[in-house]
């Protein structure tokens, strides 16, 4: 993990909407150079957390600071360094696309015209269409352009790719990887499309019912879980296998397949040697890891 000062620092953040607990003692630090995948079921609190980061929501208790500034005090200097694509897709409907781009660009002195032109060409954005008449996918492309056009240091993407077609999604993911080449930046992506997020994230944050239940380096998370197949040629497997932290297992036909966590590969191999059996270790797909974490 990067040793710089965190861009976002969240401590014991709580938020309630009448009786619903939206955030429950959330702790999170986001450092430059990170692409954070913020995952969780619908209503897990992902959007609420993101909205605290930009100050649209204020904490009931706890603390949330972005660029060293508390949520309620965020001003143009801090917000001008944040790009935000939100799931509601609120844009100025009556404007034409060209007009809206010029309008947003007028706010930022550091608007990147070159990036804008390249993005319009790559993503095939029709600048003469009216914003209100764009399809959901086109709106999302436009919202992404408006969020990245001024080279923000923190890019917050709330369900950014849900309406994009496969080609646009691939382009979008490449763009994110390109943006993160600048190590002073950070990206937070909240999404349900795990296959997309896993291609680019280097850190995983999983939320459930307002709590952060997993906050881990993505590679470490992948290494934490594995699937093992143990078999003995013609013999019988012992009743009690000496493995701990078994999540699930299937037995039959002289073999057992089980999912295990927190056990290093070397330890597994040593145990297999003691049992005098054949062993096959496979990494677990991320979707399965996610299911285990949230279950």
């Amino acid at each position: 993990m990067n040793s710089d000062k965190p861009i976002v620092q969240i401590r014991g953040l709580c938020k309630k909407f009448s009786k619903v607990i939206a955030l429950d003692k959330a702790d999170l630090d986001i450092y430059p150079g990170c692409i954070v995948g913020l995952l969780g079921a619908n209503g897990a609190g992902k959007s609420t957390l993101l909205r605290h980061i930009i100050g649209l929501y204020l904490p009931d208790s706890g603390q949330c600071s972005t660029f060293d500034c508390e949520a309620e005090k965020l001003g143009p200097r801090e917000l001008g360094r944040i790009g935000y694509v939100h799931q509601e897709g609120e844009l100025l409907e009556w404007m034409k696309v060209r007009q809206l781009i010029r309008y947003v660009a007028a706010y930022y002195p550091n608007w990147n015209m070159e990036l804008e032109q390249r993005y319009i060409a790559e993503f095939d954005i029709s600048i003469n269409s009216r914003v209100g008449k764009l399809s959901p996918g086109e709106r999302q492309k436009l919202a992404i352009l408006l969020a990245i056009g001024f080279d923000p240091e923190l890019l917050i993407l709330d369900e950014p790719a849900s309406a994009l077609d496969p080609v646009a999604r691939a382009n979008f993911l490449n763009l994110m990887l390109e943006i993160i080449q600048d190590e002073t930046r950070a990206i937070i992506i909240s999404s349900h499309i795990l296959s997309d997020v896993e291609k680019i994230m280097n850190r995983t944050v999983i939320m459930k019912k307002g709590r952060i239940i997993c906050d881990s380096d993505f590679d470490e998370l992948l290494e934490k879980y594995c699937r093992i197949r143990i078999s003995i040629g013609g013999g019988k497997l012992p009743e009690n296998l000496p493995f701990t932290d078994i999540i699930n297992s299937q037995q039959g036909d002289g073999q057992v397949i089980f999912t295990i966590r927190n056990t290093p590969k070397e330890t597994i191999e040593q145990l297999a040697e003691k049992l005098k059996c054949e062993i096959e270790i496979q990494p677990l797909p991320f979707e399965e890891i996610y299911r285990i974490e949230v279950s």
Binding site: L74, P76, L79, I82, A106, Y107, G132
Partner: protein, 469 residues
């Protein structure tokens, strides 16, 4: 549960329906408490009024069906298409029958064989106006727009005694209305049984009466209208765009000025179609109020028309923090206030000019003469607009039509209550009040109170509340 039952259940399950019932009761309260003999004297007028109500009910019922038809899943729902006609007829026949009962009271002196055709004729004319509303609410070309002229024709007809003609027709030529109702039933049947109806509404953005509070939907509908009418009509003038962008860029980077100019552009840069209609509405209100001798209400009316998408709540992140949003909201309310005050004052000045040429109108033997608006009351929007804006702040998710209507009703009710109380308890008539109010100290106090309240609520929201729409 059958599809028809599910449709009928809306009548008590939808909150919007209860709003409509409350609206209906509110405007008919005077008649509910009126002595029967007195009501009988006004029968022709009450009957004409009820025709307008039935027309409105027809529009509302069809709006509900339009809304349902626009939902994509309905297209494939078996037998739904036949339910529309059944639903409309069940509601129409039920409410017409219910109202027809009053005929028995009003014509109690007739014997049964004389009474039956009269009641049936009354039922028929009510059903006719109900179905007329249904037909106009079912858009076919310009039909929807012309529908507004039906109540206007009735209103104008009142000056020429159309209500008396209706009553005479019911009593003496019952066949006339019975035939007219058969004709309209055939017309409505043809329109509603049209096979293309489901296809025409499929997945369309339809604004029913009960969607009037849904700002997002209204915006979508506006886009759809734009698409139909062609783009050129809704182009922003390039000069306007350049003007605002130039001012934004003149201000400091990440400064308050840039944010305020940006918000003003988002608010006022829109192509202003429909502005002429607004002026026309104001003018009609002015004429109506002028003859009612309460023309000063023009300023109240103007103040309640301000229901705009205030820049406080926005998910579209442009660098405005809470302080910037606070300042911009104030600027926006001030610009609204200046605009409304200017329009109302110009109209008040105009009313002085036309006062001498406006003819006297005779109704029920009474002579109504036009009275110009007291231009000294120009300050009314200055203190009412901050109060109207509080509704926008608090009911931000319902910022559109409903808040506007609510504002308007509330202000009208409040002003009439104040007028009644002051007249009854202090003996101060409207004329005297109008003279009393424009005193400088009263103006200062009113301005101070309204602006303090508005600013206090705005500050509280900016400091403590979520700013998510």
């Amino acid at each position: 549960m059958s599809i028809l039952t599910a449709n009928l259940k809306q009548l008590y399950q939808r909150r919007g329906c209860w709003f409509a019932y409350a609206f209906f009761v509110f405007f008919n309260l005077p008649y509910l408490f009126m002595e029967f003999e007195e009501l009988k004297k006004e029968w022709a007028f009450v009957f004409l009024l009820s025709l307008m109500w039935f027309y409105l009910i027809g529009i509302l019922v069809m709006s509900m069906q339009r809304e349902i038809l626009s939902k994509p899943f309905i297209f494939c729902l078996p037998n739904h298409r036949t339910v529309i006609w059944k639903f409309i007829m069940i509601v129409g026949v039920a409410v017409s029958l219910l109202f027809s009962i009053f005929f028995i009271n009003f014509y109690s002196e007739l014997d049964l064989w004389q009474l039956l055709p009269v009641v049936f004729s009354g039922f028929s004319i009510l059903l006719t106006f109900y179905l007329l509303g249904v037909c106009f609410a079912l858009p076919r070309g310009k039909c929807e727009t012309w529908g507004i002229f039906v109540p206007l024709i009735l209103l104008l007809g009142m000056f020429y005694g159309i209500h008396d003609i209706f009553v005479i027709c019911i009593e003496w030529i019952p066949a006339f209305f019975i035939i007219s109702s058969i004709l309209i039933i055939v017309l409505a049947w043809r329109l509603l049984k049209d096979d293309s109806i489901a296809r025409r509404f499929y997945s369309k953005t339809v604004i029913g009466f009960f969607d009037a509070c849904d700002g997002v939907k209204i915006q979508r509908k506006r886009q759809a209208i734009m698409a139909e009418k062609g783009e050129r009509e809704y182009e922003t003038n390039p000069k306007v765009e350049r003007y605002f962008l130039k001012h934004m860029q003149k201000c400091d980077s990440f400064g308050m000025g840039r944010y305020i100019w940006g918000s003003l552009y988002a608010r006022w840069g829109k192509p202003k179609n429909g502005f002429s209609i607004l002026i026309l509405v104001f003018f009609l209100v002015l004429v109506f109020l002028g003859y009612s001798k309460v023309s000063f209400i023009l300023f109240l009316f103007g103040s309640t028309t301000v229901y705009t998408n205030i820049p406080l709540y926005s998910n579209m992140l442009i660098f405005g923090g809470r302080k910037e949003r606070f300042a911009t909201t104030i600027i926006m309310v001030i610009t609204n206030m200046v605009l409304v005050t200017a329009i109302c004052t110009i109209l008040a000045a105009f009313s002085i000019l036309i006062e001498s040429i406006m003819p006297d109108v005779t109704l029920y033997g009474k002579i109504f003469s036009f009275q110009a608006v007291d231009i000294r009351l120009f300050f009314i929007p200055l203190f009412l607009i901050p109060i109207a804006s509080i509704f926008n702040l608090v009911f931000y998710y319902r910022y559109s039509f409903l808040v506007g209507t609510f504002n308007m009703l509330l202000f009208m009710t409040m002003s009439f209550i104040i007028i009644l109380i002051t007249k009854q308890h202090i003996g101060l008539s409207i004329d005297k009040m109008v003279i009393y109010i424009p005193r400088p100290e009263v103006i200062v106090i009113l301005l101070f109170l309204s602006w303090s309240l508005f600013l206090a609520i705005l500050k509280y929201i900016c400091d403590r509340r979520p700013l998510v729409r």
